[in-house]
Symmetry: C3
Subunit: 464 residues, 3 copies
């Protein structure tokens, strides 16, 4: 009789839901125990990833490998309840993004030494982001051809609709804030960066003439910065718990059969991601830094990116790792991080659209010749800016790129790929974040802002 | 010829509209005169209630007791013009809610003494709110049966549609802020409380290590708090004027025939409200405080709640009365007030859904046995959290509770009750606010934060 | 093949688009050169206006005077790209409006000397705004009759729909903020003014008793004010560049044939605007100030208003000119400017609706007798408040006024006028801004807040 209450309000109709909620609680106990035993944070993060993966597969097994797991009532219910932990945690991280970026950008400008140049820093950052995106696109092209995507097997045709392409000019114009409060409320990151930059530059200018008058503003920024970082540290401590729920939910929610259908594409994506990360490591090594140490320094950010599939949510963690472990100036870390979460995403705007373009070309018999390749690179380079800050950037990227290649009408062919998008999104997001982190390291090296004592763990810095 | 201008733009087509606007102006003059004669504030509030009631009935008389008063042009016009005063005033009070809660929560945390525990305070508050809601539900059950709701008379069946029940998990997740600025812009109170709590805790932590750095933030919170309280005091002074317009509008807008049709339900509601308020007084007496003195201390907040039908709008007044008259620590008053405006509402989530459930059960022949009673209590306890912070919480509460009792399909039967909702809402809101105030007193007593010298009027405290 | 990419994403399909983008870049070089040669700012502004006009006509010539220029692909593309500069610049100016008004209003109240009265200042400002709007309406009536609008030629009938008239009470109520953060996010200027006024008055009151506690807030307001003004100065420097793109876009986007069809109306509008500006100058002269010097002082604001067609976007420039060139107290300048951008707009709410009313009356054979004239004046006076702060205020004004005159049903007759609205909007907006500036001068004179040494250029003041 009371089914509606349990079904639609409580989302608790199946004993398996309750058991799996119990399992999560027990795993939280395990994590708590590891925390008490002072197990290293990264180790706990990796353990959480493992536990989340096993838990996700277990749910699939109990559900007898359903085709559409989220249509199985008890999996849908678990998904809601796990999501409360997973999304709740990501919301708390995202809550920090706007205030953190706002005060950090003002600070980075105020602390800029004579002779340093904000324009140069911005240019260098954007160039690095775009160049790595282009390299990622080339890797996508090669891998896609090696894996013969779209040749060997047929993808399920579905009703995936291409997204309306938003014009580049409109996107660029949308980045300019017309109201700082609504820019903050909407989480328009680039607009917040621009407003903060204007404020920072003006404050720096006024500091010379009217130091006593503007000082209260500077002091407040400094105070709020300390406080918001401290909030970040508190929330980041809960990360291992959230990672279990995040990963279990992604795995449990995907049908094995859908994964099988697109296994070639998944493999190609992850091979591409791995290759591109090797490129990142080589770039870091070229700058004279040990790439293995780099991985050690940023592994927590990569794990969170992988499990949460949110570049923006990972941003506070990225900034913390860059500051505390890499030894990069905190202001620069925030600046590069903010730009990198919005433009030049190696995964979403580089490898992924390249793979899709190759697959669609093969499926439709479009020759992949030099014109195709050159065109693809140009389109991807432009698109990597044109989709800045748009939600659902990966789908937007393939919409822009497929239209750009004149393949827009074949969008429905990729329905099978879209069905397993979360599986791809894990690798894609990790690559995005790694691209940003690598860019931050390269920029830091170029502007001589990395403390190698910290990088190699010989000195500790605390953000908090 | 110019009818559209007068009708749709000016809302002035009838001499009676102008006369009644004039009457309101004259009554304002009376109130002003009382203010000048230094008549006590509570007396003025009660006089305003009386005047508002008489004025509302007068409008009904002039309109010859229409069935749908708001379809009578001159009443609709008066309603618009009176609404300008009534809603304008409530808007000004609501304007203070977000900034007041934000700075108050930070302050209450910063001023917390060693050994005090925020978690314990929160727990105690929520437990008190839920327990009183359950008691309210039981009273609703008893009163509903005594009044034989749904047995003796037939309610008009209409096209009232049950609201889509929002899942508990989604509601809980919605309380976690993902962007503090949008949480503030949307007036998401619990999210603002959570963000402020994080900031407050971080500031407290940083105060030990970096006192000079975070001090500008603390000083600003303190300054802004003083200022916003002063704004609150200014606006609260206008309350008696607004009360006339608020009450006259509610009374004038309701048809006598609709009231007659649902007179049993109205009586049951107000008897229930009265009984529950007696329970509140007994609880206060058990804690060793004089309940008559309590009523004397908070009467203004109760009157505003009754006439304005807005728990949230009443919040600034509740906080003022708790601080200045009850002698409760201002921070705790704000904290308990914020939670009480969002969860465990004795009226909306307790008595009202219980009465509706009994009525629908009787109308449909559902037996009200022990299972029904136990189930109702469980459902109401859960729902009192699950509808936290949702707009239209009373309708949402009955949607959740009726679905929970398996009676969702009979929702149209209560159309007659919904027609006179504002009449019920007055009592319901007053009970909500009294529940919050009582909880604040109980919490204050338990944590030893009430200054009894103030409570008994032997000492004065000024917020401003 | 790649047409969608170039057409829908890049908006670059025509060589003429690229050439005209190039022309704009070259003109920017010219402006830059003038800047380096230290050509006076106003001279550069006027040169930019000339260049923008020529550029707009040139685009029309290349497009062979199309009827609907924005349906010609290459003009639509140029429009997008020029718009990026034009709207981007206006967005940056608008970005300053909310923070500038917020801190300025608080400051003007804090700095108010004993004996000065905020209420009197507000009253005087609003009265001046409304009286000038009524004078503008009378001029509109006369000019409309002299030009025999609606008699000599027939306007194209189209499907212009009258806008739903928003009731005066609702508009007034909408001005009262119920949440200061959402008021800021939505750019509800009057609500921001009201919130800031409450804060300012409370701060002033608390300053006496608790000076040390509220001082951090006052200092922060002062600091933020200095900073936001400095940002304004930076952005204002780019104005001549934006003016070229702004004007070229308006001219290029209008069809010559549409202009020809409504040439009588355009002429009448601009004659009316010119006459009303003469009235403004006479008012200034009556107060003992040289009107030629006045024009010299505020010309940049007028040029921006004319080219940008945005009263609100022009506000930061108006405030700067009033402060630096007119010598008006900065707080008063902001206060009057904020009100004037929202109520009593001489152009949008005065001349324009009067001209439209005359035209429609003539077209429909409605006699323009004394009743008509008196009614029009009353309607316009009321409407000039009732449309405060509404978007699209000119169309809203004619909707209210035509309904008010009982001519609402003939709204479709003015489709031809609406087709060339941007051409009219240039003059209208300039007149709005000049009305506000004149009001500011009159108020400043009345309250003795104009430094005539600055007015006559014998002393310089720097906002920054």
């Amino acid at each position: 009789m009371q089914s509606a209450f349990f079904k639609d309000f409580l989302y608790l109709t199946d004993i398996r839901t309750i058991i799996f909620i119990g399992v999560l609680v027990i795993l939280f106990g395990v994590m708590k125990h590891m925390e008490k035993k002072k197990v290293k944070f990264s180790t706990r993060m990796l353990s959480a990833t493992g536990l989340g993966l096993i838990l996700g597969i277990l749910i699939q097994i109990v559900g007898a490998y359903p085709t559409n797991p989220l249509e199985v009532p008890f999996i849908a219910e678990i998904n809601k309840w796990y999501g409360l932990i997973a999304n709740g945690f990501m919301n708390l991280l995202k809550m920090l993004v706007v205030p953190l970026i706002f005060v950090s950008i003002i600070r980075v400008i105020l602390n800029m030494k004579q002779g340093e140049n904000l324009g140069k820093l911005t240019m260098y950052t954007l160039l690095t982001l775009v160049s790595t995106t282009i390299v990622a696109a080339i890797i996508g092209l090669i891998v896609g051809n090696v894996f013969k995507l779209g040749v060997g097997y047929e993808l399920v045709t579905g009703d995936a609709a291409i997204r309306e392409v938003q014009p580049l000019v409109d996107t660029l114009q949308g980045l300019i804030p017309s109201n700082p409060v609504s820019a903050m409320a909407e989480g328009n990151i680039v607009a917040v960066v621009i407003f903060a930059t204007f404020l920072g530059l003006a404050t720096k200018r006024q500091m010379k003439k009217y130091e006593t008058i503007v000082k209260p503003f500077i002091d407040l920024v400094e105070a709020f910065y300390k406080i918001i970082l401290s909030v970040a540290m508190t929330i980041i401590k809960w990360m291992p718990y959230a990672v279990i729920a995040l990963l279990a939910n992604t795995i449990a929610g995907r049908g094995i059969s859908a994964i099988n259908d697109a296994i070639g594409f998944i493999l190609a994506t992850y091979v591409g991601v791995a290759l591109m990360m090797v490129v990142h490591f080589i770039l870091i090594a070229c700058k004279g830094l040990n790439p293995i140490r780099y991985v050690h320094n940023v592994i927590d950010a990569l794990v969170l990116a992988f499990t949460s599939r949110s570049s923006l949510g990972t941003l506070p963690v990225s900034i913390e790792k860059l500051t505390e472990n890499v030894g990069l100036d905190n202001g620069t870390a925030t600046f590069v991080g903010s730009l990198g979460s919005n433009a030049g995403m190696n995964g979403c705007a580089g490898i992924y659209p390249a793979l899709v373009a190759v697959m669609v070309a093969n499926m439709t018999g479009t020759p992949i010749d030099l014109t195709f390749i050159m065109m693809l690179i140009i389109v991807i380079a432009l698109a990597s800016f044109g989709i800045a800050g748009l939600p659902g950037s990966a789908t937007m990227a393939i919409s822009v790129v497929l239209s750009g290649m004149g393949l827009g009408e074949y969008f429905p062919l990729i329905a099978g790929v879209i069905a397993i998008d979360p599986i791809l999104d894990m690798g894609r997001t990790m690559l995005n974040v790694n691209g940003t982190l690598t860019t931050a390291v390269l920029v830091g090296k170029a502007f001589n802002q990395i403390d190698e004592e910290v990088y190699y763990g010989r000195k500790t810095v605390q953000m908090d």
